[in-house]
Amino acid sequence: MARTEIRFAGFGGQGLLLAGIMMGTAATILDCKNAAQTQSYGTEARGGASQCNVVIDDEPITYVGVVNPDVFVCMSQEAYDKLIADVREKGLVFYDSDLVKIKELPKTRQIPIPATKTAIDSVGRKIVANMVILGSVIESTRILDADLMKKCIRDNVPKGTEEINLKAFDKGRELYREIAGKA
């Protein structure tokens, strides 16, 4: 796999950091790929802007930053407005369709994923919206094997929350398949 750059962006508290770490962990520890994950926050201790960047590559990674993401996962309007311009030409955008209003971008595929709503509806916990959208990303991009990803989630989320996380993840995959089917 060639160098792939993924950016998660939204508010603090949406669990985007965990989603990124999960990808990096799965890539390096389970898949013998190379990965690097970085992050940045606003000055608020809670809420506020939050960004998590992941680079995955078969080759060793020299530069760990994400400048022009191949995949942009976006869960707030603020993040969208600020960061959409960075997305690489032909990049993929996954956005929470209840939180983000997109603008027309001819060369970019923008995929609406009602992640927060789905999380609430399917397992009753807003907090697993991150797993929903991660499911969609994995299903769409195949950056990592979905089963391997699920093993990683099971091993690394807090005890007792494994099932709802996995359910949300699968829900996200489903969601993508539906949307892709439609498109």
Partner: protein, 389 residues
């Protein structure tokens, strides 16, 4: 730390966590800190891990207390460490002088952030190059500093810090930065038996024959440090000392001490020169960078090489003592050297300029910090200086 799979020694963790694990692997069993972004994760990891391995980890009232207590712990026979960033590093400098003068082995981690003052506390900077070496007033020091550029090095070089601190009986800095500290990457922790760990050397002669400080043979390293409570009558103080550790104000004694402190480093540059060199053989241009800036710099070099431009790269790994020799060699070879770094005053570039002795033109590519340079910025600047614009 997230659980590992496959190998029980593989982890996807932050540089800060790797530093904590490196310290444990090196035998560090005393830690005192005061929270500060972006170094707090080191303290937090250590707070969790030390009790498991029988170490003491404590948060003290401030940075002054932390470093002085680390000095105390070192005297008491512990391998010890403290960590900080920005203003917290400034606050540790007074205590550091006590460590330097008394030849105490311990490690200080500086996770650099964007300054001056609190600056942008959560984001990267590289403004402390001289601070760690010269910040503690009085000169005549023997500080060693090592700078990792990735998570694995954060672990490995932390161990080296402890080892060098024991060999040279001096505080050693791990001079890292927020980018390395907060980036998560794969960390492989080797089996303990594979690691080379330098233990605290203990005197083999009886107390009556032992001198605390090898001032009669300036430059001596690998010199033992006795345990307290064993009759060696350890003498440690802020005052210029004789070989026995007694306070003295004589010019001769003071010069003896100063000379030893300086020479124990300068006499052993062979053991203290460590750089990464890439594609220097045929290079016409060079890039020199350290820590987080090394990675975009190397990426820029790759890009230039891909276009047939003969660019080489050098990275100081042990950054103090400064690798004058390899840089001079490089300067004799290339025409121009670009030095990207995360400050606007030009710190690494000044040192490179000094070491180059006029043999190559040295260019500073600065930035206030917050983000590292992007590879393209380094590449563009390289092109600009090559074209002589």
């Amino acid at each position: 730390m997230l659980k590992q799979e496959c190998s029980i020694n593989k982890y996807f963790v932050q540089g800060d966590e790797a530093i904590a694990e490196g310290a444990i692997a090196a035998g560090c069993r005393y830690f005192a800190g005061y929270p500060i972004t972006p170094a707090s994760e080191i303290s937090e990891t250590i707070a969790r891990r030390f009790p498991e391995v029988g170490g003491v980890a404590i948060q003290l009232e401030d940075e002054l207390a932390s470093i002085h207590s680390v000095g105390g712990a070192s005297v008491a026979g512990m391998k010890a460490m403290t960590v900080s960033s920005g203003p917290g590093i400034s606050l540790k400098l007074e205590g550091l002088g006590w460590g330097i003068k008394n030849e105490l082995p311990y490690v200080v981690v500086d996770v650099q952030r964007a300054g001056p003052s609190n600056g942008v506390a959560t984001r990267v900077g590289q403004g402390d190059l001289y601070t760690v070496k010269y910040g503690s007033a009085g000169g005549n020091n023997s500080i060693i500093a090592i700078s990792p550029m990735n998570v694995q090095e954060a672990f490995d070089l932390t161990i080296d810090c402890f080892n060098l601190s024991e060999i040279f009986r001096t505080p050693v800095f791990l001079l890292t930065d927020e980018t390395v500290g907060h980036t998560r990457e794969l960390l492989v922790i080797p089996d303990a038996r594979e690691l080379k760990i330098v233990p605290r050397r203990k005197p083999t002669v009886p107390p009556s024959e032992f001198l605390m400080y090898p001032l009669n043979t300036p430059g001596t390293i690998d010199y033992p440090y006795p345990n307290i409570g064993e009759g060696y009558g350890i003498c440690v103080s802020p005052y210029t000392h004789t070989a026995k550790g007694y306070a003295t104000t004589s010019e001769k004694d003071h010069d003896k001490m100063a000379t030893h402190l300086v020479r124990k480093v300068t006499d052993h540059l062979d053991r203290l020169t460590r750089v990464q060199e890439e594609m220097l053989d045929d290079a016409e241009y060079g890039i020199i960078a350290y820590g987080c800036e090394a990675r975009p710099a190397m990426e820029a070099m790759k890009k230039a090489r891909a276009e047939g431009i003969k660019v080489g790269f050098l990275r100081p790994i042990i950054i103090w003592p400064f690798p004058d020799e390899p840089i001079y060699r490089m300067a004799c070879k290339v025409k121009k050297i670009l030095v990207p770094e995360l400050n606007r005053d030009g710190q690494l570039s000044r040192e490179v300029q000094r070491a180059a002795k006029g043999r190559a033109e040295v260019y500073h590519l600065g930035s206030g910090g917050v983000e590292t340079h992007q590879p393209v910025h380094v590449y563009d600047e390289l092109m600009r200086i090559i074209k002589g614009k």
